[in-house]
Symmetry: C2
């Protein structure tokens, strides 16, 4: 997600916060997710950001209304609506499968967002909690990731009674693109795989432009503030190791600032 | 752990707290584990317990000194020392493997406790973080659990250079006994598998007896307070579902009291 945003918006500065002390959010109750997401958002808003991108599907799916209400003077962009846009653009027959965390699937936000865009879409969803652990462990390829993908995805994607097989699969968790290769293997070539990173980055860009907030190259270069500031609530070493895999570039533990929420 | 305690101490009443809002502890830094463990312990002490059993290897391995110091008027029993007792009693050649969470392995508490009891023991340790997710997901048998066990345990248990193969394997995380069957398959019949639940329950009993705190059957029956009180920091439904697998008996969500730490 951060990777997509930086690639799309190279002149912007980013402050990224990982709530590493309390992750994963995906197994928590809605009340707790809302509380934690508001605390995380407040920490970012307190650092003078001009827009808030909620780069976590669980927080987006469960806590976006609360965040939008609390921080109503800022653009607040979640990943679910852009993900639903991408899914509806990709689907041929309107048969869409969504995978996410337990909380994302239970809350039904993707199901609502897709149905709002394409009434009559036939949606099925499954929680794939182990994918989160596999991505964090770095076991994103090989027989274990493959077997987990088989177990989660085969029953989800296939035809069931009157329901035809899914033609589109939404990766509704920011960890899941790390497993894209095995997901692709199991889903086969006929299923379009969508994640919300690129569409969300485009949505952030659109909203910044609309509100006249887009950085111009010259302004961004001035000032000397870093283009990327990394905050975490715990464990700089682990955040650096796991984050580097996600970001696709090395992170040193000393670059990570630990904050308390 | 709770199961072993209740079985060993049928006349005692138990208050069990699962910090479900913030689990897992095993991937957090030592500072955060200490902070969270002290908060959890304070919540239990505030509910008038007569002894504190730390039924989490990570909290025991990382935060026991802090808990013992803070709550010095109570017996505080962790699982690492009893686990080390069990390992040293079980090993034939002093070649002991320990598996646990990242934080447990990194902290080295098992390594120190075993060496203190058997100087010269040859100890190797590995973090098996995915086992936690597999246990929580209920995927404790079958090809995925088996493949994960192969990947973690084969290199750990085998001979390496001058180090002979391990003859004893310590399950240094309360989730791991859920995967005992596949761990046994991979470890083979020559490796003794020990977990700390039974030895910890015996240690709790010994300490209560020593301090004259053991409940007598007659007293325990009086009073009408429940024999088991379940507290969690989040998600009664999920706690009931996962907890029932661990406890080996059904738990209804309404039996779980949600508290804030």
């Amino acid at each position: 997600m951060l990777r997509a945003l930086r690639s799309r918006l190279p002149h912007e500065r980013f402050v990224y916060l990982g709530d590493t002390a309390r992750l994963p959010y995906g197994t928590k109750s809605a009340e707790t997710i809302v509380r934690y997401a508001l605390q995380a958002a407040a920490a970012l808003v307190g650092r003078d950001v001009k827009a808030l991108a909620v780069a976590c599907n669980t927080a987006s799916a469960v806590a976006l209304p609360a965040m939008t209400e609390r921080f109503s003077d800022l653009p607040v962009i979640g990943v679910v609506e852009p993900g639903a846009d991408a899914a509806v653009a990709a689907t041929r027959r309107g048969c869409i499968a969504v995978i996410g965390t337990e909380a994302t699937v239970r809350g039904g936000a993707y199901q609502r967002a897709i149905t709002a865009r394409r009434p009559g879409a036939r949606i099925r969803a499954a929680a794939c909690q182990l994918f989160v652990a596999l991505a964090e462990e770095g076991w994103t390829q090989g027989p274990i990731a493959r077997a987990a993908a088989e177990r989660y995805l085969r029953p989800l994607l296939q035809a069931r009674g009157a329901l035809p097989p899914a033609d589109t699969l939404v990766l509704g968790c920011t960890h899941f693109p790390m497993l894209r290769a095995v997901i692709r293997e199991v889903a086969g070539p006929l299923v379009t795989i969508v994640d919300s990173a690129a569409t969300t980055a485009a949505a952030v860009q659109g909203l910044l432009r609309e509100r006249g907030l887009l950085a111009r190259a010259a302004r961004a270069r001035a000032g000397g503030r870093p283009a990327l500031r990394l905050l975490a609530t715990d464990g700089a070493a682990r955040f650096a190791a796991v984050g580097a895999r996600f970001l696709g570039q090395p992170i040193e533990p000393h670059e990570v600032e630990i904050i308390d929420l």
